[in-house]
């Protein structure tokens, strides 16, 4: 049984705003399925041994900073990397498509 279907890959691509054509979907669905199959094999072992999943590579907790204000970027610097700016703000294309 496949771990991931071609439809699921297409759905994920849409959510991630990746424009995949039909041929790419075929290739990636196959490759992802192999990867997920390998991960599932590991899960069989870890589940049996009751090993908790690792979300962080370093054994650290409670890394915080005090609530202190530090200087922000000058506005020009903040906007410098933006494709477009207007009135001191980031200019973005229309958010909602016309109905």
């Amino acid at each position: 049984m496949p771990e991931i279907t071609r439809e699921e890959v297409a759905h994920l691509a849409r959510l991630a705003r990746l424009a995949l054509d039909e041929a790419e979907l075929d290739v990636l669905a196959g490759q992802l399925d192999v990867i997920l199959g390998a991960v599932a094999q590991i899960a069989e072992v870890t589940d049996a041994a009751d090993v908790p999943p690792t979300s962080h590579a370093v054994p650290l907790e409670n890394v915080t900073r005090p609530d202190v204000v530090v200087a922000s970027l000058p506005r020009d610097a903040a906007l410098a990397g933006a494709p477009a700016a207007e009135e001191g703000r980031f200019r973005v294309p229309r958010i909602l498509d016309e109905e």
Partner: protein, 504 residues
Amino acid sequence: MTTTSTVPTVPYDEALQEFEPVIGLETHVELGTASKMFCGCDTAFGAEPNTHTCPVCLGLPGALPVVNATAIESTIRIGLALHCDIASWCRFARKNYFYPDMPKNFQTSQYDEPLCTDGYLDVVVAGETVRIPIERVHLEEDTGKSLHVGGATGRIHGADHSLVDYNRAGIPLVEIVTKPVTGTGAMPAEVAKAYVAELRDVLRGLGVSDVKMEQGSLRCDVNVSLNRPGEEWGTRSETKNVNSLRSVERAVRSEVERQAHRLRNGERIVQETRHFHEDTGMSTSGRSKEEATDYRYFPEPDLVPIAPDPAWVAELKAALPEAPSVRRRKLVAELGLSDNDSAAMVNAGVLDVVLATVEAGASAAEARNWWLGHLAQKANERGTEAVELPVTPEQVARVIALVGEGTLTAGLARQVLDGVLAGEGEPDEVVAARGLAVVSDEGALTTAVDEAIAADPDAAEKVRAGKVAAAGALVGKVMKATRGQADASVVRRLVLERLGVTEG
């Protein structure tokens, strides 16, 4: 939107005789920390656009977030005040979505491991205590603000493009989610409003947020569904953008009325997000609800887990301030307020500000009169609640003190409060700027009295002839000439003196 047609409805009370309501509330609170959640940018409201941003809150490549310790503490204190269990270990999660209000294309939030779970808040509605169960309290970050250009004024629909300010992006935001609240019978709208009001008082008492709904530091999403008695819960709608106490009530009310009409006619309720409009008190349909799984939450790899030390949590719990409900009961008893009086203040939602005004030095009777009288009237004119007026209990207490010491008459005091409401500053500043202090210079008043007598010889003659009641007209003229700044009893005495009459 060009649709202006009114949605068919069933009257609220009638709808609630036929259907049972289930409500749920998601409240977002901006914490009052000095710096943002994951970076040191300033959180002050009202700064020039994009002057409080840095590589972290702009999501620039390679920038790494670090958790604000105070935000964690504040969230735990909120959880404790709401009688929640505090997690011994939890993680942040990425909520992935593409929307220009978050430059990172994800919001750092919490998913299946919130800091606080399973609490409650008791609220009093119409003399009855209703327990609102709390599902979770979690910590996330606020989004940026968009300005929509082109098309209808400021609306996202039909806009040509949008301009984004990321000053607010990354400000710590606490989300407080209730469990579905059942059994509110004929009062779901009133219960919803009372809950948000009580929650605001709790948050204010904790000092974790300035809880200003008009500035968006406290915002509410309202879920409503209806079902017939004995049937399963109905499909719910979620109304967003509900940003005043009055609107919380109106949002529930209008949804009950709208849904009842659809259900009665055998129509389906669509699970959707609706947008509330302050101006009309109605909501309109927005995008249909995305499935939670579409956000593809996963543990945030750039932040290590949070594991609050139970001993520290116990300390925070022991140091919590008295709950507003407890403090309220004590003060009401101390002040000897009658049940009727305190009920009237609870209904108007002003009990806490009245008590705060008393704590700032005013008498209970004066505080009550101002909040239930002039200020309630001003709130009504503005279509808001007295507690949401831009005047503090301390300012009201100061005005009352000025009346007490004879600097202001009651009429002048109203003008001073109006000045404060108009943003003219502290009461003393308004008195000085508007020249409102009582005229106590008898020389100046005598001149005004003589002018009044000269202008109305008939009235003067009647007074001289012993008709003391006729003095009222002359006193009125003087009060008008001095724009109410004279003490009427002094003016009356001067009028009688000038006309050679002694009273009684």
